[in-house]
């Protein structure tokens, strides 16, 4: 393999695939990045067998070939290269990086041992609008579970039904749901995508108009620009989320999003340094205002926020973190809060937007 390129080329390749490099040492070769020089250009590839990322860079290929290099070391070397033209030559499993009048030799792995990306989906191609999809990820990914006890909750349910696309995530304490139109789509798909993959998609998708996905039974591949992201789907049954979203409510509020966020953030300061870090916030809703009266060993806060209220008065407690998380996502000036009492799921929605909602389960004391 002989290639001519710049530091920028190598950096963009390494940065794109780096998060798919395995952090475990069980299969050492997975801690490597695979470079394949082909007629099309230079492929960078990394996988931990769950998530695989590939990017094709148009560099000058003098001679085709493959190497697998230790990811961390290679990335560090690339970052420290000068901004001169760079020539990479392989000999056996190793490479020589030539820059200025110097060269850096790196020992690699045997590329024969690098696992092929198996089961590359070859099914239907579905086109998704890039910026919209990115926004949907942002609106939902925060509500995924981090613990592995019930794997389905560590992913996002992607459902495509003809002209409708939706993303749902829940950690069983809260649920985020976002939907959008998919003009002209005829195809259908439903699968649970790991949240790590979604975070990568969010990071890597630029302002491309569209990204397309291809699906198989156990995997999905995302194609955009010159990047491919191949991910395993999480096996299992995602719960019927439609069933748990309340259709009616006894109390409906219209609240200034920014003011509520500030209030809750101030209130949660009081619990930040307490020992148990039980970050609760209690809304006392009466007479068209939310009253928050909290105290801890650190101090006391008393706030009153004017709101528009329809229906019953209610007092309801939440994990303040959940409220802060979702209010940060909501972009409209006002947020709608719907509840049917202190123990029922509470729905938060942006004003005049039926496409997004976040459900938070209250605390019971």
């Amino acid at each position: 393999m002989i290639i001519l390129c710049t530091k920028e080329d190598l950096l963009s390749g390494v940065n794109t695939v780096q998060r798919a490099v395995s952090t475990k040492s069980t299969l050492p070769i997975l801690q490597g990045i695979k470079l394949s020089a082909t007629k099309e250009g230079l492929w960078f590839e990394a996988t931990d067998l769950e998530l695989g990322i590939r990017i094709l860079l148009p560099v000058n290929i003098q001679e085709e070939g493959e190497v697998v290099l230790p990811a961390r070391l290679f990335a560090e070397v690339v970052r420290r290269l000068p901004d001169s033209s760079i020539r990479i030559e392989s000999s056996g499993h190793n490479i020589n990086i030539f820059y200025n009048d110097s060269h850096f030799e790196l020992n690699g792995y045997d590329p024969e041992e690098y696992p092929e990306m198996a089961d590359i989906p070859s099914g239907d191609v579905i086109e998704l609008p890039g910026p919209t999809f990115k926004n949907m990820i942002k609106q939902t990914v925060f509500a995924c579970a981090v613990e592995e006890t019930r794997p389905v909750f560590t992913g996002l349910l992607l459902q495509i039904e003809k002209e409708k696309i939706s993303l749902v995530s829940t950690d069983t304490h809260r649920l985020a749901y976002s939907k959008s139109l998919l003009n002209g789509n005829e195809k259908e798909f439903s699968g649970i995508i790991p949240s790590k993959t979604m975070q990568e998609i969010y990071r890597l998708v630029g302002d491309e108009e569209f990204l397309n996905i291809k699906v198989s039974k156990s995997r999905v591949i995302f194609n955009f620009n010159n990047i491919q992201v191949l991910t395993r789907l999480i096996e299992g049954q995602f719960p019927n989320y439609k069933q748990v979203i309340p259709q009616t409510c006894n109390t409906k509020l219209l609240i200034n999003t920014r003011k509520l966020l500030d209030t809750v953030e101030r209130a949660s300061l009081l619990s930040r340094d307490n020992y148990l870090k039980t970050n609760t916030v209690r809304f006392n809703i009466e007479n068209s205002s939310i009253n928050i009266n909290q105290y801890s060993e650190l101090g006391k806060i008393s706030e009153q926020l004017e709101i528009e209220q329809e229906g019953e008065d209610v007092a309801i407690s939440f994990n303040a973190k959940y409220i802060i998380d979702l209010l940060k996502i909501i972009e409209t000036d006002k947020v709608i809060l719907e509840t049917s009492g202190p123990y029922s799921p509470c729905v938060f929605r942006p004003e005049n937007n039926e496409d997004y909602l976040c459900l938070v389960l209250p605390l019971r004391n």
Binding site: T26, E50, E148, P194, S195, P239, V244, N274, L276, T278
Partner: protein, 628 residues
């Protein structure tokens, strides 16, 4: 003069023997079921009322007892199972001593109704406290029905020691489920008193029986074990490393259809899981061993719960290897790597700024992992060759004894005593030493940015700053936990929990207390429950495990674990994470405050993981060393 030594009458002999064999209602159920199994029953119905003292009925479809044998059957040392002790070498039956029935008869009102299939009618024998009241011919289906009423009516002392209905019945249902697992080819039905507690199909399929006992969800996850060589066959199921419990209650060993207890086999199983599961957790396992009866001795335990293997070491090694091999099947590997994968995927490092994803600060894996003393520690704590290990709990790790060991100027002298590693120091047993008071300690300096040197002008003290601060934080957190009013986080999608009959009875007994801790539990059907709300502790992932821990603690210890105990590991991690680290520069003022805070804790001498916080070198000791 009356002779002082005399031979007891038969009734007393029987009652004494009964004390060994029939310890509690559970033993009656066990012995009678074993008799039914020995009579080749295919179906066994067990009915129990209350805790089993008022009424136990075991009905089987076995070979029955001939009318002429009936009076003999209730005599001690009367058995059809062996002719002489040498038959034990080839024993195929569960019983052989001919003691059980006689023992039960002597402490209850017992009725046997039996008809061998080849006879036209059956006979009934009624007994009370060992004497036969009546024998008569009756009509009945083939098989034997034994009814035990008023158990222990003539031994009130025994009655007093029995526990509550729920506990005693829990033990019975646990025993019956173990026997059912040992004999998946026999259909067991347990009723209490009219409600069917469980019902195994008796199809011979072990996994089906496991599903009944442990729940379908659990059974689905288990890994099969299959092994055979010329002297040993092992069949059964074990849990993948991702499925663990906090006690050994769900580990069942069966040898030739006999359920046994064996510390050695438990250890062998645990060795198979070594490093695959967190310390302090245990797998689920049902392992059925088939071997020649001549390879072990059953005649070592009154209830035959323990047996002695001829070549225990080899057997242990085999089991460890087999378990290890089964765990490394693709199915289990996938689950293991899957878990870890997701974990790294969402760890703090991977977190992207604008996305606001929750960082996994700790989960149970970390929870267990963090407090675990490092393997290398054992090297540091090697005792001196010629030195008696020092009992830390009494001597506070002073080096007095080391000097007495006549080992004057060795560089290794200050290595910590062996006990530290054993972690058997019971914090409650440690008293504040009278030799010094924390208030009198004055910090001198810090060395290696890790240890604080202090003195009270009588001794030199070395304090591990991290361990000390951990102890302080632990105490503060425990106190807060006790004061904190519990709050429940309600769940959008409830967690389903399958319980064994015994676990269910514990749940019902402690329902209110669990509710107070913040668990909202709802009955779903059968032995399945919904967890609709869990205690609200931030960063406490997987609260379902805490619920399990609660059940397991009661199962193994039969007392209610304190909230503090349940959340112990969680407190450990929080304490560890928020404590001053080693390699942190402290000022003299900070050191003094740390020492005073340490002195105010309940047990200032060890950190929550059992490592010492402070070591004392008395002035006298220094003088000795300098030959002053």
């Amino acid at each position: 003069m009356n002779p002082r030594i005399k031979i007891l009458d038969q009734h007393s002999i029987n009652q004494i023997a009964a004390g060994e064999v029939v310890e509690r209602p559970l033993s009656v159920v066990k012995e009678l079921i074993e008799n039914s199994l020995d009579a080749s029953a295919r179906k066994i119905n067990i009915s129990v009322e209350g805790r089993g003292t008022s009424f136990i009925k075991i009905k089987d479809d076995g070979s029955g007892i001939h009318s002429s044998d009936l009076p003999l059957a209730i005599q001690p040392h009367a058995t059809s199972k062996i002719d002489s002790i040498s038959d034990l070498e080839t024993l195929k039956t569960l019983g052989f001593r001919g003691e059980a029935l006689a023992s039960i008869v002597s402490v209850s009102r017992l009725t046997i109704l039996s008809r061998p299939a080849e006879e036209l009618s059956g006979y009934e024998i009624r007994t009370e406290a060992g004497s036969v009241l009546e024998i008569k011919e009756v009509g009945c289906p083939p098989g034997t029905t034994v009814t035990v009423r008023d158990l222990f009516f003539n031994t009130p002392a025994r009655l007093k020691f029995l526990r509550s209905n729920n506990t005693e019945f829990g033990l019975i249902s646990d025993m019956v489920s173990r026997l059912a697992l040992a004999r998946p080819d026999v259909a067991f039905t347990l009723r209490h008193p009219d409600k069917v507690v469980f019902n195994t199909p008796g199809t011979g399929n072990l996994l089906e029986t496991i599903a009944i006992v442990f729940g379908h969800e659990t059974a689905r996850k288990l890994l099969p074990v299959n092994y055979e060589d010329d002297s040993l066959q092992i069949r059964g199921f074990i849990s993948p490393p991702s499925l663990v419990r906090s006690s050994l209650n769900n580990v069942i060993f069966i040898v030739n259809s006999r359920v046994i207890r064996s510390q050695q086999l438990n250890q062998a199983l645990k060795d198979g899981y070594y490093t695959l599961i967190p310390t302090g957790t245990y797998p689920l396992a049902v392992l059925s061993l088939t071997m020649s009866p001549s390879d072990y001795d059953v005649n070592v335990h009154p209830a035959k719960l323990e047996i002695k293997f001829k070549d225990e070491k080899k057997l242990k090694e085999k089991i460890t290897a087999i378990v290890r091999k089964s765990l490394l099947t693709p199915k289990s590997i996938q689950i293991v790597s899957f878990g870890k994968q997701g974990y790294t995927g969402s760890s703090g490092k991977e977190q992207r700024k604008g996305l606001n994803t929750p960082a996994l600060n700790d989960n149970l894996f970390l929870l267990y992992g963090c407090e675990k003393p490092k393997k290398e520690d054992s090297i540091e704590y090697q005792p001196l060759k010629s030195q008696e290990p020092i009992n830390l709990s009494k001597n506070l790790g002073t080096v007095n004894n080391i000097a007495e060991a006549n080992y004057p100027l060795s560089s290794e002298t200050f290595s910590a005593p062996l006990e530290i590693n054993n972690r058997e120091i019971n914090p409650d047993s440690i008293q504040h030493s009278p030799t010094f008071r924390f208030e009198e300690l004055r910090a001198l300096n810090q060395i290696f940015n890790t240890y604080i040197l202090a003195t009270d002008e009588k001794s030199l003290f070395i304090i591990d700053q991290h361990a000390a601060h951990e102890r302080i934080r632990y105490d503060q957190l425990s106190k807060k936990l006790k004061e904190n009013k519990p709050t429940s986080q309600t769940l959008l999608i409830p967690e389903t929990i399958d319980l064994t009959p015994q676990e269910e009875s514990i749940l019902l007994e402690y329902f209110d207390e669990l509710h107070e801790m913040g668990f909202i539990i709802e009955h779903f059907g059968e032995k399945t429950y919904f967890l609709r709300g869990v205690p609200f502790w931030p960063d406490l992932h997987n609260p379902g495990t805490i619920f399990r821990l609660f059940l397991d603690e009661i199962l193994s210890g039969s007392y209610r674990p304190t909230t503090e105990k349940l959340f112990e590991r969680w407190i450990f991690v929080l304490a560890c994470r928020t404590a001053t680290k080693a390699q942190e520069r402290l000022t003299l003022q900070e050191m003094d405050v740390l020492i005073q805070q340490l002195g105010a804790t309940l047990n200032p001498y060890t950190c929550p993981h059992g490592r010492p916080t402070i070591i004392e070198i008395p002035k006298k000791e220094l003088e000795k060393r300098f030959y002053r």
